[in-house]
Structure formats: C-alpha cells, structure tokens
Amino acid sequence: MDIIPPLTGRHFVQIEMPALATEQPLEGLDQALQDDFNRKREEMQRVAKDCVVVVDNVPKIGAEKYPRLVSKLTPRFEAAGRLRRDGGDKPFLEFVQGENGSSLGYAIAEYISPEEAHKAIALLHNFQLDRAHRFWACTAGDFERLQQMPDEFVPPQALPVADRDRPNFKSYLLDERGRDQFMIRHQDETSIYWHDHVVKPQLDFARLKWTEAAAIWSPRGTYVATFHSRGIKLWGRLPVQKDAEVEYGLIMRFEHVSVTMLDFSPCENYLVTFNGTEPERDDKRNPRALVVWDILTGRRKRGFMGPPRSILDSDGSIPWPIFNWSHDDKYFARLNENAISVYQTPDMGLVDKKSIKIPHVRGFAWSPKDNIMAYWTPEVNDSPARVSLIELPSKKEIRQKALFSVSTIVLHWQQEGKFLCCKVDRLTKSRKGQFTNFELFRVKAKDIPVEVLEYKEKDIINAFAWEPNGSRFAVIHAYSDVPGKTDVSFFTMEGLSGELKELFTLEKKTANQLHWSPKGRFILLAAVCTQNGNLEWYDVNDAQGKENPEPVGANEHFSCNDIQWDPSGRFVTSSVTCWRSSSDNAYVIWTLYGKELCRVNVDQLYQFSWRPRPPPLLSAKQEREVKKTLKTRRERYEREDKDLKDSVSSGKAARRKEQRDMFSAFRESARRIQEGEAEKRAKAIACYAKVEDDTETIVEIVETIVSVKTEIDWNKKLLTSDDERD
C-alpha cells in the first residue's frame, strides 16, 4: 500500500458534481419508486465521483506563468485518458487558481468513465514532473473518503465470537453410535458414508461433480477441500435438523487459478495452494505460484515462488508438500539451495528475517510433537555427511552426528517425536556396493544417544515403520544371498532410555508395505499392487514372546493398491482404485483381526479416505478412567449393536414384504389384462388348432399352469427366504 503524502491544499473546495437530470424527486411518486430513484441517484453520483480525478503536487506558480502551466500540462492529462468535454469541445480540466490568479498546486480533471479515470490515475499517480514535483492522483470518491478519515486511529472492534455466525461444522462428531466417516470418489460422484461395523456403510452425503480433481479432508477432519479450475473451495457439514437432508455448506473460496496441489497446516489454521507456475515465469514482487491462506478469514497471507529446478525430485517432479509445518502451526519451512527457510505465523516472515544457511542441505523433517527440526547434509569434499537436530526458534543445534560414505539419508520421526530414525544408505569401501544402516536417535533422552542397526551389504530395505504410539518399529528387508527371500523384523527401543533389541522376525513374507494401526500394537503386512494382494495382521504384543508368531488374521484382496486404517485403529480398508485397474474397483473393510466386514464394488473408484478425527478432548487421567470401566461400558455397546442388528434384519423383512405386496398388486393387474387378451391370443394361434385338434386346450392349460405355478413358488419363496433370515 502506498503511503499517502500530505495534501498541500488543505483548504480544498467542494468538488462540483456533474449536474443530474432531476435533483428533486417528482411529487406523488410512491415510496418504492422514490427509493428506487434515490438508489439510482446515489449510484450515479458515485459513478460521477469516480470519473473525477484529483491531482495534487502540481507546481504552484504565479498568475503570469499560469497559461504556460496549462498549455504544458493539458496534453499530459489528455494523454492519460479521454477527458469529458463541454459543448465547446473544452475539456473538464482545471488547474485551480487562487484569488490572485496564481495556481494552488492541484488540478481537477473529469474523464468520460470510471475506467478511463482509473487508467489516468495509473499514469498520473507518482508521475515525476521534475525534481520537486511528483504527482499524487486519486478519484474524487476516494478523496472524499480520505478527507472524512479521522486523524486519530481507532482500532476496529473485534466481533464477539458468538456473532461470527459460523455454524457448527463438527455435528458429525455427535453421532449417537460414535461412528467414523469415510469419503469415496467414484465416476462424477463424491460420497461420504458412515461406517458401522454392524450394518453396511450408510450414505451420509453425496454430490455429483463436487470437485474437478481430488477431494481432501483437513487434518482434523473439519473441512473438505475441493479442487476447481479457479481455486479451492472449503466445505463443512452443516448441522442437520431432524429428518432433514444432510448438507455441506461452502465455507470459503480460495481463488488460485489452475491450482494443482493443496496442503493444510496441522492445526487447520492455514492452507497452502500451489498452481505450478515456474519461478522464471512468476512475478518476483508478487509471486503467485504458492499461496498461504488464512482459513478462517479466507485472506491470502503471502505468496511464494515455486521451487527452483535445483531442488526438484530426481524425476523432475515437484516435492509436495513444499512447506513442512511444525506441529503447532507456528512455523513452516521449505528447503532451498544451501538453506532452509523457516517462516513464522501469523506474520509469514522469515524467523530472524533470514533463512538458516546450511551448505548443501538435502532434506529436513519436523518433529511431530516439538519444534525440533532434523536435517541432513551429504558428504562434500572431505567433510562427512551430517545429521543435525536444531531447536526453533533459537536455531540452536542440540545434536549432530557425522556419517561417512553416505549416498542418501531418509528421516523417519516416530509419531510422538520420541525417536528419530535415519535410514542411511551407505556405499562400501569400493564404492560399488551399497548397504543400509539405521541411526536411531533417542530424542527425549539426555544428550540424545544414538544407536545403530546395521544390515549386510546388498541387503535391500523395502520398508520401515514406527509404531505410532510405542517404541517399536518394523523393517521389511530382502537378502542379497537368498534371492526372493523377504523377512519382516520387529525391534524395540525399550522405552525412552532402554536398549535397542530385536524382538522377532517373520520369515518369507510377500509383504511390501507396513501399516501399523494408529493406536499401535496391531500391524498389517500388505503385498500392495501385486497379483495376490496378500494381507496379514499381527498382534505384536502377542507375537513378541513366541517362537513362530502366527498372524491373527490373513486374507487377500486381489491386486489392491491402497491400505488405510480408520482413525480409531479398529478397522482397516484395502481398495483397488482405477489408477491401478479399470475393473474390479472395490473397497473392503476389515477388522483388526482380518475379518472381512464388507466388500463394496464401486465403478471407477478414484479415492477412498477415512475422515480424520480431531485430537481427543479427554485428559490422560480421564482416558485411564474409561479404560478401567471398559467392562461395564462394553455391555452397553454390545447390547446396542445387537438391537441395531435385530432392527435392521426386521426392517429388511418389512421392506421385503412391502416390495412383495407391491409386486403382487402388479401381477394381479397384469393377469386381468391378460384375461382380456385371451381371445386375441387364442385367435393368433388358432390356425394351428385346426391342424391339431387338441392344440387349443393345450394352449389353455399351458397358460394357466405358468401363472399359477409362479404364484405358488412365489409364496413358498417368501416363506423360505424369510425363515432363513430371521
């Protein structure tokens, strides 16, 4: 925003308004018409004011030089836009004169339209006439507004929270059965379902063409973000009146043309959007590739340039997210060449106004629970590769470890920020072979000790995963000397300051992905994107004492390509989406023991995603209390489940009866019509009756039998099917 220079002509006169057709409303007009007239007049006055341009800082000169000033400056005003002219072709342009004929230092010009006036302002404002005179221009409307501005700054009153008129978008959390929701996107439709382990998924809301690309849950499940060519829309589930249809209301629009990527901050305060504009084509002063938005106000907080070519992934794709957020939304950081830029909220400026200079930095990761950042640098010349932990905002280094012969490092934080695992791919001395080390940092222990888990040369590590709320982790690794053999090993860190220990190894597994339940203890080993789609569930608590641990459940989902645990950690889904296969698109919901709850075929399934849950409101103490009384609570829930089951099955019976009755009615009417046609039908085949004497009677019998038999079987069918069911 430009700083407005002080006006030189404080005694500025009232601007003459262009004459309007009728200033006085005609007598006898009714109120509505008069209101309409007044509205129109105001509108015209507003437009008229917008046509008038006030220009300040015009040279102040005596009367004798005044004509020269006019002749010199008029062409400039003319060139800036089309001036309105009077009957004698004289433009409405005045360099205001004082009583003695000298100019007062400002000019008033009237252009033919507000557009022309704005064009003129763009050209005249900040125009440097000479060293002392730099024009300052605005419309008369703005001028009036600025004149009325009080000299004292009065901070605007913050609206009380209740007045913000924001509906409760979390009504879904009040579900009586405490069910979770999930969203599927298939064909043109995006649907949100309730998941209930007793009955099949139930539709909560569905909309055709809701989004043009993906639909994304916010990290705490409050919002749904949809993609559109003009930007992002954010939706929330409106509170539902009894028996009314569920509606999702549009909360906010974030205009960002051809947006391709989207990321929420962890506490849902900010939204980051990216439209792929290359840095070379972007506007350096007002970048539009990356935008950070405030979700509550919908305001654009700051624009950023896209990532430079040098930090793109090896295949040229853009690493997403570009900004990594700290757990509390306080900081967000991006990787730059030889630096990590850490920005702070809410002012969106760099912490300490400068990036953290780290030569050759290759990757970094925030701790999920603290404002600690881990980053690594590769070996350059003689200095070794390093993994460092720094604290923000102090930027103090709290731990550093040097590593040799490193080819690449991947940082894995344990979800509670207690441990950090660096998967280090190292080269052998000959620089030909490669092997993997895990450097395990005990971040919460004193001095942050590091333990190392080494693998043999050429062993391939296929996957690594921390138990989300524990101190265990699992590794899938293949052996170099035994081709095709893949093992899954489990290790424990033994709490905050124990010792790294191997728990057990499952041999010869086909799995290529590890999926811990978000509540820990259970893990799903999945062979994703393979022919068989083998799935094996293990209870790690139970397995760790045994010789040959058996899975608690095993199953397969033919060529499944996506696995997702529900936020409660009780159910897990596998799905085949159309990105992998054009047929057999389906999702299956399993229990944590691998029992299939339901399998739903969905044509052209693009996406399955559970709705994330907000952090729990219960304190740790309350949670312990709940666990203690689990037995008595359990009874209640089991009873509720059973009641629901019964009502559903009886409801089904009722529905079936209704369907049957309706169909019987149709059959009855059809038979009456048929009886009316009997003669015609007989006539049509009468020719054959002449040939064979008894044909006619046969015809009658056949017709009757067919219909009677259908009826009998019908009733029998009803009995048997319902008996079986109830």
């Binding site: 075929n601 149709f666 046609e677 015609k680 049509a684 259908t710 048997t720």
Partner: protein
C-alpha cells in the same frame, strides 16, 4: 452342475433360442452357419448354409417347421427347419439385425440396422405357410427408431410389436395401423437385448449402461432395476421362478487387457422382486452375448463372445432349496 459345452461356432455368438417345446436349441453367431442342437444332450443336428455374413438373429415357427435367419449380408432367409433347404431370401439395403415370426406365424417381422445411410426400420411380411413362394413386398414398414433396432418381438396377441434399440428406447407398435403406440427411453446407453416374460406381462431390457430393467408391457412402467458392474448384453425372465438371468461382461474391445477373473464373464441370477443377486455361473472366457431360459425353466443357455454355447441344467437343489442356493 456341469453344463454341456456346445462347440461348433467359430465366432462370437449372437443369439440362442429354444423352440416352443424346448427340445431344440437354435443358435446364430458371427460366422455364417446358424446351428440347431438337441437340448437334451447337446448334439448338433445341423446348420443352415446360405448366408454370406454374420448371422444376427433366428426365429422358429410355432410347430418348428420353418426357421428364419437375419444376417449382416443384408438379407433374411426362410429355411425348412428340418432339411435346411433355403425357401426364400429377402434382400435389404442394410444388415438385418432381428427377425421374428408372429404368434401363429402369419407374419414375419424383420428389423434392419441403421447403417449404410439407411434408417433402422421394421419390415412386416405376410408369411405364406403352405408354399415356398413368398411376397417380396412388405405389408407394413415401421419407421421411427433413431438407432439400430437390436431386437424385435411380437406380443402374444399378434397385434402389437415390441422393439428395443440402440437409441436407448423401447417402443410398442400397432402393426395393423403401422403406428407407434408408446415409446420410452429405457436406459442411459444402448439396449442390447429385450425379452418377454412367459406370460407377456413383463419385458426385461439389457443395456450397456450396466443395468437390466423390468418393465410392465401394458404401460411401460418401470418395475425393477438390476444393477451390475459390467455392461449387460442379454437378460431373461425365468418362466417358473421369480428369477432374472443376466449375461454380459466387459466389452470385447477391452477384453484382451483383462483376465477372465476380472472380465466379469459370469452369468448372474437375480431375484426378480428384491433385485438381489442370488448366484453366479462361471465358465465363459469372453462376455456373454445372449441368454435364454428353456420354456420349462429347467435349463438355460448362454452364448459368449468366446464362440461357445453353454447349456446349463439346473441342479435339483435349485427347485427345492428356496431358490437361494444356486449352482
């Protein structure tokens, strides 16, 4: 239940139909030889030789003395059913898609494709039962469909004709007046097949839009919709139970990219009233193009894109076990 696998056609099947008694099975395929089989043991009795293109449909007279076939060689041929002698050939300006004898066999309806600049029309010919001489001039021409007619059927009264078309509509025609009585847009995509229930009260339509729909013939009101996850090429109503038989599968153009496990080439049986799937019958390794129940409801036939005809006898269980425990 082991089906009889009838090998004889070299190309995808187009139609399979039982005669009135159900002792004979007539099949046509994209090859030039419509065949006739014994339904009790699957023995091929013979073929009708004379067409010069894919044969799309076949119809048999009430007493199984004559057969008419329609072919992509722009002609329909009337045959002696028993000897295979060619009695008459009608020529058209575009391929013949469907043929049907009227009840009593006084008339023959022949539907042509919308191809080669021709509209898809139904030509009604008088059928001279006692002679080989047939009139060349149609008695009536029914015009109106905007897409190729895929099936033409006579109502039992022999006064009304039913047509299903790729223009997504089914239509009823007054044959006497040569006028359309009713038209309804039945599906979102091409209708591939259409069959009456045994009592002619209901009509089932099969469509590429992954559904089969059951209609009241009297007023074309929609009774039921059966939804599957693949295009439906053919559908039939059981003459004895409240069952619907559906056949289909992924389109031939996509078949090469999928295995038979993913191609959904199974025959499916649905409950007529509850719209629930009751059972599946595997076997074909291409989409099923045509299905039909035998008149006694104890057998059904399916013909596939794979060139095979499978003749299924229902297990004894099917008739006793509340019809849920299928196959």
């Amino acid at each position: 239940m082991r089906p009889l696998l009838l090998k004889g056609h070299e190309r995808p099947l187009t139609r399979a139909k039982f005669n009135r008694e159900g002792d004979l099975l007539f099949t046509t395929a994209m090859d030039k030889s419509p065949s006739v089989w014994r339904s009790s043991n699957g023995e091929r009795i013979g073929t009708y030789k004379g067409h010069n293109g894919a044969v799309r449909d076949i119809s048999v007279t009430w007493d199984t003395t004559r057969v008419i076939t329609g072919s992509a060689d722009n002609s329909a041929i009337l045959w002696n059913a028993e000897t295979g002698e060619k009695l008459h050939q009608w020529h058209f300006k575009s391929p013949v898609r469907s043929v049907a004898f009227s009840p009593g066999d006084a008339y023959i309806a022949i539907a042509t494709a919308k191809l080669m600049g021709q509209a898809s029309n139904v030509f009604i010919f008088a059928h001279n039962k006692s002679s080989n001489e047939q009139t060349e001039e149609p008695v009536k021409v029914l015009e109106g469909h905007e897409g190729t007619i895929t099936r033409v059927l006579w109502h039992a009264s022999a006064e009304i004709l039913l047509t299903a078309s790729e223009d997504k509509t089914i239509r009823k025609w007054d044959v006497e007046a040569g006028e359309e009585i009713q038209c309804v847009t039945a599906h979102k995509n091409d209708i591939k097949d259409c069959q009456f229930s045994a009592d002619y009260a209901m009509v089932i339509t099969a469509s590429k839009d992954h559904t089969a729909k059951l209609w009241s013939f009297h007023d074309f009101s929609l009774l039921r919709t059966y939804t599957v996850d693949h295009p439906v090429n053919s559908a039939a109503v059981s003459p004895i139970f409240s069952h619907i038989l559906l056949g289909g599968g992924q389109e031939a153009s996509q078949v090469t990219t999928t295995g038979d496990r993913q191609g959904k080439f199974e025959g499916k049986i649905f409950h007529l009233v509850y719209e629930e799937e009751l059972g599946r019958v595997k076997g074909h390794f291409g989409p099923i193009n045509t299905v039909a129940f035998s008149p006694d409801g104890k057998q059904y036939v399916s013909g596939g894109e794979d060139g095979f005809v499978r003749l299924h006898d229902f297990d004894p269980d099917y008739f006793t076990k509340g019809q849920e425990g299928l196959v």
